[in-house]
């Protein structure tokens, strides 16, 4: 079985700074993988490379969907999304002046076809497609538990709801691979627990593979099948939560070296 996402020796330089140094990573089918590391380790840069926002200096990124492998190097962001990879953002990037429902509808963009001409004609097919988009978006809002707020303006939602809306919007692109950038940031313990259940539920329901960046260790340890650890742009460890917990390199990276050790 080929992994859904396969990243091999990915390197990203910004001028003289090496933000990512030969990072290798794999995410299998229906697997939840966490990427952790101290601030500035290059986790978000990694996401930006994988989703085509940055152009990596070297390395390969392959996405396998329905047994067809696509190289993502040189592809544009919207093409990668169309192939079946969606993401959320660390600093929430909702369309803040649009309604909750419209945000999700925008996510359906790559799965719908209506062009300018059909917009002007508004024939039956266009209207049906539009109604389907509305209903599908509403269903997704239900999945993440935002259906009551569907007609609110996105920026009026509380922080935790905005994060969930980002997930719903990403799901609207019908992904096989979902990248979550700190989904639990700014959430209280209750919300975090709900989020954990939500991610598991989504994985089962939509057959998703999930790669998430997260700082909340209890969530990472209880949710993920495998964990990758990065420091200063380089991968330093990978393994199951139990292995990572006892790995001395990881402890050093997080807590620093103690002098009397």
């Amino acid at each position: 079985m080929k992994p859904v996402l396969e990243v091999h020796e990915l390197t990203q330089d910004f001028g003289g700074l090496r933000a990512l140094n030969e990072v290798c990573l794999e995410v299998g089918e229906k697997e939840i993988v966490a990427l952790i590391g101290p601030n500035g380790a290059g986790k978000t840069t990694f996401f930006n490379c994988v989703t085509g926002i940055y152009r990596p200096t070297s390395g390969s990124i392959n996405l396998t969907v329905n047994n067809v492998t696509h190289s993502l190097i040189g592809k544009k962001t919207h093409e990668i999304t169309a192939l079946g990879m969606a993401r959320t953002f660390q600093n929430i990037r909702l369309f803040s002046q649009m309604t909750v429902l419209e945000n999700v509808m925008v996510g359906c963009h790559s799965r719908t076809r209506a062009g300018i001409l059909s917009a002007l004609l508004r024939d039956r097919r266009t209207r049906r497609e539009e109604q389907e988009t509305v209903d599908k978006s509403y269903e997704l809002l239900k999945t993440v538990g935002l259906e009551r707020q569907w007609d609110e303006t996105a920026c009026n939602l509380p922080y935790g709801d905005q994060r969930r809306l980002e997930i719903a919007r990403a799901l609207a692109t019908e992904p096989h691979m979902l990248l979550l950038d700190e989904p639990a940031a700014g959430m209280n313990p209750n919300e975090t627990r709900d989020l954990r259940e939500l991610i598991k539920r989504l994985r089962d329901r939509y057959d998703l593979s999930v790669l998430l960046i997260e700082h909340d260790m209890s969530m990472v340890m209880s949710l993920s099948d495998r964990i990758y650890v990065m420091e200063y742009g380089s991968p330093i460890a990978s393994g199951t939560p139990a292995e990572i917990r006892s790995n001395p390199d990881v402890i050093k990276a997080y807590l620093g070296e103690s002098r009397d050790a």
């Binding site: 989703t51 969606a86 953002f89 990037r93 369309f95 309604t99 509808m105 209506a114 917009a119 509403y138």
Partner: protein, 404 residues
């Protein structure tokens, strides 16, 4: 006491500021007369106006005053219901169609004012696509207007093409120019885009001004024919009325097309682009295509408006397409409320008709106009009509009644 001091300071400050304009008068023999009385009157006026202003804002009504008056809100609420809205629009349309037959406002002079107002409505609606919906600040929109007008003017003088052939050609020409401008500026946004489009506007104007052998330079092109109607001869009154009806039709078509576009998948993508480029790209929107579409669709309306303008004035020269025009169109969009079709239409009508009908106040016309703009920016900086959003019908909610 503090307020009185504040008002005094404001009064003195205004007197100082306005003294060169209002307080000095140069006589024919080049001696200067000081008009103290006028300055004093100004000071007293400002003093009381300032007191009034402070009283208005200090009292509890401040929060109330910032909202629309109740009558307006309820009228808007009434307008939102489908039935009353249809009826209202119907009455408006009938009124528009009857205008040429009414006394006083049915005169040629009044109708040509209305024609130019309608042309500006078309321009503002077009600019609204790229500025209001897609959020790309374009400051050279008058260039497209000019291209439309000159397309008609040149084709009719050199090849004798008529209005009806030139209307689509004008649209196509501006779409081509819109794409030509769109390609290099794909990566730019905000201020940088504004500067490039400003430059584009000036390039087009200067080209028209200096390419004397073809465009006639600042003398412009005259004797542009009015639109024909199956070869029927019309006197000037009839021709004007006919053009007026054409403009009404064109504006209605523009409103229908643009509102359909706004509510479509493409329109949604444009609005997403306005909110966040990176996020919309990550949602699978092809930025290149959507941005170019915005430029092309928007400039087409300027092309049509340009052809109508050339037909109306039967004379074009580069002076009609200065940066002031672009700024005016942008103000219409901003004043009306970015993205709102009703708002932008109102904005255009207000900005053209108010200065026109303020001619009675001759000297103070621009002063009043400026005052209206300043007040507008204080009380409704987001534009006349905002928060206009589409109602979606969710099938799953059918059984539960209308949830809001």
């Amino acid at each position: 006491m503090k307020r009185i001091v504040h008002a005094l300071v404001a009064a003195v400050w205004f007197m100082v500021l306005c003294s060169p304009i209002m307080g000095l008068q140069i006589q024919p023999d080049k001696s200067v007369v000081f008009l103290w009385k006028r300055l004093a009157a100004l000071g007293v006026g400002i003093f009381f106006a300032s007191l009034l202003w402070q009283w208005y804002f200090s009292s509890q009504r401040a929060s109330v005053s910032l909202r629309m008056p109740a009558a307006v809100t309820s009228a808007i609420g009434l307008f939102k219901q489908k039935k009353t809205r249809r009826a209202g629009l119907g009455i408006l349309l009938v009124f528009m169609l009857l205008i040429p037959f009414l006394p006083v406002i049915g005169s040629i002079y009044q109708i040509s004012i209305l024609i130019s107002a309608l042309i500006y409505v078309m321009l503002a609606l077009g600019l609204n696509i790229v500025v209001g919906l897609a959020g790309q600040l374009v400051l050279g929109y008058a260039a497209f207007y000019a291209i439309g007008a000159y397309t008609y003017a040149l084709l009719t003088t050199y090849f004798g093409f008529g209005f009806w052939i030139c209307l689509p050609i004008g649209g196509v020409m501006t779409i081509l120019f819109g794409l030509a401008l769109g390609f290099p500026v794909l990566r730019l946004r905000g201020d940088y885009l504004a500067i490039v489009t400003l430059g584009f506007g000036e390039i087009v104007r200067l080209m028209l001004l200096n390419w004397v052998s073809i465009t006639g330079g600042s003398h412009g092109i005259s004797n542009i024919p009015k639109p024909g109607l199956f070869g029927i001869d019309m006197d000037i009154q009839q021709a004007t009325v006919y053009l007026y009806y054409l403009c009404v039709a064109a504006v209605i078509v523009a409103i229908v097309i643009i509102s359909r576009l706004k509510n479509s998948r493409v329109g949604l993508a444009l609005q997403a682009l306005r909110e966040d480029e990176i996020a919309s790209e990550a949602m699978g929107i092809n930025l290149t295509r959507v941005k170019l579409a915005a430029f092309a669709l928007s400039s087409a309306w300027a092309g049509f408006a340009g052809v109508f303008f050339a037909a109306k004035t039967s004379f074009v020269n580069p002076a009609s397409f200065t940066f002031m025009e672009s700024a005016m169109m942008l103000s219409m969009v901003v004043l009306g409320g970015m993205g709102s079709i009703t708002g932008v239409t109102l904005g255009a009508l207000i900005l053209i008709l108010v200065p026109e009908y303020l001619r009675a106040f001759a000297d103070y016309r621009m002063l009043l106009f400026g005052l209206v703009m300043v007040l507008m920016m204080i009380f409704r900086p987001q534009g006349l009509i905002t928060g206009e959003r589409r109602k979606y019908h969710v099938t799953a909610l059918d059984g539960k009644g209308e949830a809001a």
